[in-house]
């Protein structure tokens, strides 16, 4: 009887059951990443020496700002198109809606390499787009579309729009229809209902989607590697080069730390903002 009560009441069982996963995350994720971060502050040249040399390098600061710029543009484009698409999907009749959701899930379950590769076929010098443009006589010689910032952004938007659509469909469906009907029956135009009722209610969801897309594109590797190449080096591809080509461990660790700090700060800041706007959001 006492042992049964112990089972039911004590948190000890709970701790024991979570122990393997907790130890795995602490020992094999937090400690190794902590070691990478700590290592950058133990440079014989000085505590912040790796960061000073990082930001003194014109190339490396360019890479950081390019990565931020690509992620910001990807996020904005995905937000706009994702929101409009999610709105249409959430208002679609039952059967069509499930079909549209499946059609958004499918690319999401297809690997990033496959999805970047698809754009390689489309945007290449002898790619489909160039062939089409030449055949139609719109251009006289093939356009250089690969290895540009535009190519990376298109690839990234392609990667993240489905994610945005799916997360926003959920948000939009949770907005009670009565609220929108109340708005229009009280005389608001559809446009006013959209701007003044629907959009504000969707803001917490938009923030969550934006964080997902921003952090995802900020740390993406395969897409910028295939579509951007060396000309569009971003933090992730620079990290790979530093570690695997130059064997510059300190440099690679510094990039890893910068990526981690920026990613986690954005997640924390945005979830704080989302909670302030809507205390019901989790």
């Amino acid at each position: 009887m006492t042992s049964r009560r112990f089972w039911r009441r004590s948190g000890a069982t709970g701790w024991a059951l979570t122990a393997p996963a907790t130890l795995a995350v602490i020992g094999l994720l937090i400690v190794p990443i902590g070691a990478v971060i700590a290592g950058t502050f133990m440079d014989p040249r000085g505590v912040f020496a790796p960061y000073i040399s990082y930001f003194n390098s014109g190339f490396r600061t360019t890479v950081l700002f390019r990565t931020l710029q690509i992620s910001a543009l990807t996020t904005i484009i995905s937000l706009i198109f994702g929101f409009m698409t999610a709105y249409v999907v959430s208002r679609a009749p039952g059967k069509l809606k499930s079909l549209l959701i499946v059609a958004a899930v499918f690319p999401l379950l297809t690997g990033v390499v496959v999805r970047a590769f698809a754009w390689l076929i489309i945007l290449g010098r002898n790619g489909i787009l160039n062939q089409t443009l030449l055949a139609l006589g719109i251009v006289n010689e093939p356009l250089e579309m690969l290895y540009t910032q535009g190519a990376v952004i298109v690839g990234m938007v392609y990667l993240f729009v489905p994610l945005m659509v799916l997360s926003l469909v959920g948000v939009l469906e949770n907005i009670p229809k009565d609220v929108l009907q109340a708005s229009s029956s009280l005389g608001a135009s559809p446009l006013a209902t959209f701007w003044q009722v629907l959009l504000p209610l969707a803001v917490p969801g938009l923030i969550v989607g934006a964080v997902l897309v921003f952090t995802g594109s900020f740390t993406a590797y395969a897409t910028p590697q295939l579509l951007g190449g060396e000309r569009q080096t971003v933090l992730a591809t620079l990290l790979q080069q530093r570690a695997m080509v130059s064997f510059d461990w300190v440099g690679a660790s510094t990039i890893a730390t910068i990526m981690t700090v920026i990613t986690i700060s954005i997640v924390l800041a945005m979830s704080h903002i989302a909670r302030r706007i809507n205390p019901m959001a989790t």
Binding site: G14, T18, T22, A104, G111, A118, V165, T219, T260
Partner: protein, 262 residues
């Protein structure tokens, strides 16, 4: 009905879906082409590039490695993730809130940083074999999905059923396997599939955990694309898509796909 979306919005949504589907159709077309270079629409239909996948030993090897890692990694994640998800729901009051956050940490941390950290501490630092390091990486990579999906299904489980069984004399461990687990079977299947696909498609964690003779399929695809521009990669891509379709069909039949959208 006043809530029918504006025609312009419908047109934009249609274009977005076209944008999502067309590249995948192009990959399938390119894979079927009889030419030695990548082209669309396919010129002459042929399955020879599919045969070519298996003619290249690096593809054969990495397909096997990827499937092994995805299967074992998912299995280990379920082994440590199911008890954790159960405890988080069952002992919600007793356990601190940060514990739930801890298990989603592998999603918050940039994957590529995690891969690099494993290379530094396990492979280089401790001399752990690459296969084992890959397995560790993938287990932790999919752990958040496992914990979240199974937690979501446990959230709607009525724990008073379990208490009733225990107070009627059933042993707690036996109760878990005969009462709790069968009730969240759908969640376990969904978690397995989501984790398996995530692991199979992963690039960033595996990127640093490759070595002589060992690599995963996505890493091999990347390496191949940078050297050759033939339809082999398109064929591998189609193979992976087929796998995804098969998996989606299973999910659809067992749970309904809207489950994944949650």
């Amino acid at each position: 009905m006043s809530d029918r979306p504006h025609p312009i919005l419908v047109a934009i949504a249609a274009l977005v879906y076209l944008f999502l589907m067309v590249p995948l159709v192009i990959v399938v077309g390119a894979a079927l082409s009889d030419t030695t270079y990548l082209t669309f629409p396919p010129q002459g239909l042929s399955l020879r590039w599919f045969e070519n996948i298996f003619a290249i030993s690096a593809f054969r090897r990495t397909i096997v490695t990827s499937l092994q890692i995805a299967f074992l990694g998912t299995l280990f994640a379920l082994l440590i993730g199911i008890p954790a998800a159960y405890a988080l729901n069952r002992f919600r009051i007793e356990l601190p809130k940060w514990l739930g956050t801890l298990f989603v940490l592998p999603i918050l941390v940039p994957e590529i940083v995690f891969g690099f950290a494993l290379l530094k501490s396990l492979t280089v630092g401790a001399g752990v074999p690459i296969f084992l390091a890959l397995l560790v990486g993938h287990t932790l990579l999919v752990l958040p999905y496992v914990v979240r999906v199974i937690s979501a299904s446990l959230a709607s489980f009525d724990f008073s059923i379990e208490e009733a069984a225990i107070s009627l004399g059933s042993a707690p461990v036996k109760t878990f396997f005969t009462i709790v687990l069968p009730n969240v079977r759908a969640g376990v299947i969904a978690a397995f599939i989501l984790a398996f696909i995530t692991s199979l498609n992963d690039v960033s964690v595996s990127l640093f955990l490759t070595g002589p003779g060992i690599s995963t399929l996505p890493i091999q695809i990347l390496a191949h694309v940078e050297q050759f521009f033939d339809p082999t990669v398109a064929s591998v891509s189609v193979l992976l898509m087929f796998l995804t379709v098969a998996v989606m069909a299973i999910v659809e039949r067992t749970l309904g796909l809207t489950f994944l959208a949650k």
